[in-house]
Amino acid sequence: MQRSTARLGAVTLFLATIGMPIASWFALQYAPTEKVMGDVQRIFYFHVPAAIVSYLCCAVLLAASILYLAKRDLRWDDLSRAATETALLFCTLVLVTGPIWAKPAWGTWWTWEARLVSTLVLQILLIASLLVRRYADQRDLGARLASILGITIAVDVYIIHKAVEWWRGQHPQVFKAGGKGSLAPEMSQALLVGMVCFTLLGISLMFLRYRGIRVESRSEAIRARLDRGES
């Protein structure tokens, strides 16, 4: 697992390094300027992919949390911690880019809208889950408790998606179920490129962080063994 994740991390990081400038070119040059909102709409090509990546990380978090509880292999816990941290990073990106876009588009930085509030809630919960892991005095306990929270948080993400339909806020509907999107073809292409590149970036960051955490836990295990040997 160690070597293959390292390779996957390196390959995706390489692709993301090439991809991100291309995605930026697509977002800033290739895509046409939106008629009503103007240039500020280009944030959309970063905002939406970041949101998608944070959801993807939450899916990894859910799977890793369930697998840890089922198998008790600490490597799954390391992966779920890496997924939590990466999800937190992209969630923060979404929350930073959102208001910058919302101010000119809606005339307000922040509004009572389901997906906004749910994303903020997701961010708070991700931080809380990292805190719980840190507060626990044993590694196993922290891993177990964080896994429980991981499952709860991932279900919350599902509710975030559903929430838009239930509360019918003013968040723009990019993908209409069954119908044609309202995007121009160039815009869709720029969005697609952005999504692919952000996903690559997300995966590479997650696996790099995973490797970092693995090295951390192994060095801690060695230190514990040395301490025991000395006393």
Binding site: L69, V117, S118, V121, I124, L125, A128, L131, V132, Y135, A136, D137, L141, G142, R144, L145, S147, I148, L149, I151, T152, V155, D156, I159, A163, W166, W167
Partner: protein, 232 residues
């Protein structure tokens, strides 16, 4: 996790009775969370003022304030019910008993729920008093909304209470975990209550169905993961 026959009902009942007996002897949890939520109600009433509330319309203000007070009360109450086990060092006893972890969850959840419902009775009466609501707002439907909202809060609260008990950070951590997670539940409860407090109630039951759905979802998540939180 074994959920066999009537033994689980007996064990759950025993645990529920133990928690409630403890409460009835001291009234510790209910009184402390009641005073706390009373302060929340008063602070809102004081800062908003009677005039503003009348202008905005009580049905727009009161449901949020009421559920906020209930949410805070649940944090105080649930932390207290878990703290009792830690202070008395009775957790090990509970672990050693033949009762399964599912039973522990059910017993704690029911006891927390009943305590919170008793508190809500007082809280609703005080809300009517402070916010000058018509008595006609209190209907069986409001009782159902309170019941469904409380069930959801206590399911999540009992699960997170166990987590907080294990890492020992008290109310602050429980509030950080419980209140954001329960946002959809609180929103549905607030909307349903607002429908109830409107001058002309529309009888829309969508929010009630949603509340029921959340309760079911949280119940299964909490029941499935509770045993991992209490594992030694």
């Amino acid at each position: 996790m074994s959920l066999k026959g009537p033994s689980i009902i007996r064990a759950t009942w025993a645990l529920f009775k133990k928690d409630l007996q403890l409460e009835l002897r001291t009234w510790d949890t209910i009184s402390s969370s009641l005073i706390f939520s009373l302060v929340v109600l008063l602070v809102y009433q004081f800062t908003l003022g009677v005039e503003t509330i009348r202008e905005i319309g009580a049905h727009r203000v009161v449901p949020g304030v009421l559920w906020l007070a209930i949410g805070f009360a649940s944090v105080v109450g649930i932390t207290r019910s878990m703290e009792v086990e830690r202070q008395g060092e009775t957790l090990t006893g509970l672990f050693r008993s033949p009762a399964s972890r599912a039973t522990l969850f059910l017993g704690k959840f029911l006891a927390n729920g009943v305590k919170l419902l008793i508190l809500e009775l007082c809280l609703v009466a005080l809300t009517v008093l402070f916010f000058n609501l018509p008595l006609s707002a209190i209907t069986p439907r409001l009782a159902l909304i309170l019941l469904l909202g409380t069930v959801g809060l206590c399911e999540l609260g009992t699960l997170f209470g166990a987590i907080v008990l294990r890492v020992g950070r008290g109310e602050a951590l429980l509030a950080t975990l419980l209140l954001p997670t329960a946002t959809p539940l609180l929103l549905a409860s607030i909307h349903a209550t607002a429908e109830q407090f409107k001058p002309t109630a529309s009888g829309d039951s969508n929010w009630l169905v949603l509340l029921f759905g959340f309760d079911l979802l949280y119940f299964f998540i909490a029941l499935a993961t509770f045993e991992f939180a209490l594992e030694e």
